[in-house]
């Protein structure tokens, strides 16, 4: 058979491959890539290449030519080259020595989706158990430090409080201000219809103090600081800095995780308090502007109807949020493996998990407080 760039014929069970022109990766066209398929029509036991008219050959071309050897797991058939210069023969030798039965392609199967669901479920429980174990470890270290407070790395705790807490004050206060205003406007529209606009104080007070400020601050810290915990610790893990710590005799848990958790525990209630004040303040402004409820009336009503209880209910949740956020961030950071991709996916996971955990925990608190009647 004669093709553009090669001629195939069989003689005494020897396949003659007469090659012309240039066979490099740039020359591979339809004709050349069908080389293997065209061979199926022939029966032979050995191959003879004729390179007389060959101008140029590279490994890709040699690879395609070598497919004539019908490589199977056990053996390649015999081959010779005639009319070739030294370079092309050594190249063919190298390529033929390097081929073997090529590994099969990976295929997507119909049950892939089931496999993925299974893997996902398995991973969910794995992550849950691991996070709980990590949490347990945190309390162990906490116990250890309670009796030796001088051993806590206060310097890094203070630096972290600045990073997590002080630097987040403007954004926290701005956000809570907006949220308080939105709630107040909602109250104005709804309650004025019943002539009960004074109840907007209850609405703003209870919603901001009990739920909104703690949740917003926790979600913000989860997005802001938790991701940086994961990225910092993850990058340290990738560069073997964690291993170096261990070898030097420092516990990564005591040096990295605990200060972060402690800083969160201290910073989060303070941030929440500021958020509450900002939310209440914006509610008060809106009430004054739209309904002419004076600040004094607003505060009196707040004191009577909402009381200090809601404030404590909101604030008492925050240290728990703080622990969960710090623990998840640090755990994901320590779980980073060698690749850049795992750093990215761990950071995503840590933010998603901590926001999820904060909201779930908040729901548990809601049930708890309801049962307790507060």
């Amino acid at each position: 058979m004669i093709y553009d760039k090669y001629k195939l014929s069989v003689k005494d069970k020897v396949l003659l491959v007469d090659v012309t022109g240039s066979w490099t990766i740039k020359d591979i066209d339809n004709d050349i890539s069908k080389f293997k398929a065209n061979l199926d029509a022939y029966e032979y036991e050995s191959v003879q290449y004729d390179f007389l008219k060959l101008n140029n050959l590279d490994t890709a071309g040699a690879f395609i030519l070598s497919q004539a050897l019908r490589v199977n797991p056990k053996d390649k058939c015999d081959w010779i080259i005639c009319n070739s210069d030294e370079g092309y023969s050594t190249l063919m030798k190298l390529v033929i020595a390097s081929i073997s039965c090529s590994a099969g392609d990976k295929k997507r199967r119909w049950y892939d989706i089931l496999t993925n669901i299974g893997k996902g479920t398995d991973r969910f429980f794995y992550e849950l158990v691991e996070t709980l174990a990590f949490l347990g470890q945190f309390f162990m270290v906490l116990m250890h430090f309670i009796f030796r407070p001088q051993k806590v790395r206060w310097k890094s705790v203070v630096a972290l409080i600045e990073e997590i807490g002080v630097n987040a004050v403007p954004i926290v206060m701005t956000l809570c201000f907006f949220v308080g205003a939105v709630i107040a406007y909602m109250g104005v529209n709804l309650l004025a219809a019943f002539g009960a606009s004074i109840f907007m104080v209850d609405l703003v007070g209870i919603s901001v103090l009990r739920e909104l400020a703690p949740i917003i601050v926790a979600v913000l810290v989860a997005g802001r600081s938790n991701s940086s915990f994961t990225a910092q610790i993850g990058a340290m893990k990738m560069r073997q800095e964690i291993d170096a710590l261990k070898v030097i005799g420092l516990d990564a848990y005591e040096t990295l995780v605990f200060p972060r958790a402690l800083a969160c525990i201290i910073a989060l209630p303070i941030l929440t308090f500021l958020g509450m004040m900002s939310g209440i303040f914006s509610g008060m402004l809106i009430a004054w502007m739209t309904m002419d409820i004076s600040p004094i009336l607003f505060l009196t009503r707040l004191n009577e109807a909402v009381g200090i209880e809601s404030f404590w209910v909101g604030l008492v949740k925050t240290p728990f949020f703080a622990i969960v956020i710090a623990i998840i961030g640090c755990r994901q950071g320590l779980a980073v493996s060698g690749s850049v991709e795992s750093l990215g996916s761990r950071t995503t996971q840590s933010v998603v998990q901590s926001i999820f955990a904060v909201i779930a925990l908040n729901a548990i608190f809601a049930i708890l407080f309801y049962q307790m009647g507060v």
Partner: protein, 251 residues
């Protein structure tokens, strides 16, 4: 017709801030030969390599590839040029989010239009050419050892059959047996694929085994490019120390 060198750096001056790294440096690699670049730590070997690769723009001077200046090339020509150059960076520089197979296929996919099956076949051949098994194809770089990563990096560098190969410390961090095997690999690839190799190295064994020519980088310039034995006799305190020191093999 005058034959040009595959790569020829002329009058290169590179400055970082106020500090000169190279001052009027000349370097060339001869076709079909392995040229080693040696020099003390911080003498600017890697900077020279990066300059030749176009990663660093020199303040003065030009790099010629087969007689053509890189500066005067158009976009498409630069692409063509980059296709004819393969580079193995020190740590392999494999893309860590891709499997070895996909790493090798990055240049192939970008510049060719072949069927997936053929690409996989070619990649599998390349990986075996550099002495790995095709099982390594589906692994990620982080799952390989340092030596395997270097080999995989070499397979990627060779993906498009370059004529010119740059190696940055190819044997650094390998045990002597693996280093020797890597040298042998470079030698056999050089003869069979007709490569010109430029190699930055500290490894004296590697210099002895593989390099046809050795260039010595001292005092911001290439002091000498010649065969190893002539270079070893070159009259310079650093060169003498380097080749006749306690770790030398020339005694």
């Amino acid at each position: 017709m005058k034959r040009y060198h595959p790569v020829d750096a002329k009058g290169i001056t590179t400055k970082f801030g106020r500090k000169f790294v190279h001052k009027d440096l000349n370097f060339h690699a001869e076709e079909g030969k392995i040229t080693g670049i040696v020099g003390g730590s911080g003498s600017g070997k890697s900077v020279l390599m990066n300059t030749m690769l176009g990663l660093i723009e020199p303040q003065c001077g030009e790099i010629f590839f087969n007689g053509l200046s890189r500066k005067k090339l158009k976009r498409n020509d630069i692409r063509e040029l980059n296709n004819s150059i393969g580079v193995l960076f020190q740590g392999g520089a494999l893309f860590s989010s891709l499997t070895i197979l996909d790493n090798i296929l990055v240049p192939l996919r970008e510049y060719t239009n072949l069927s997936e099956q053929l690409l996989r076949g070619i990649a599998s051949m390349k990986i075996q050419m550099v002495g790995l098994t095709s099982e390594a194809l589906d692994l990620y770089p982080s799952e390989l050892s340092g030596g395997m990563r270097k080999r995989a990096g070499l397979a990627r560098a060779l993906a498009l059959d370059p004529k010119l190969l740059f190696l940055d410390e190819p044997t650094a961090g390998l045990d002597p047996i693996a280093a020797h095997a890597f040298d042998e690999l470079i030698l056999s690839l050089k003869t069979s694929m007709d490569l010109t190799v430029v190699m930055v190295t500290h490894d004296l064994d590697s210099l002895l085994n593989t390099c046809d020519k050795v260039a010595v980088l001292i005092n911001k310039q290439i002091a000498i490019i010649d065969s190893l034995h002539k270079v070893a006799k070159y009259d310079n305190p650093w060169v003498k120390e380097y080749f006749n020191g306690p770790r030398s093999r020339f005694n």
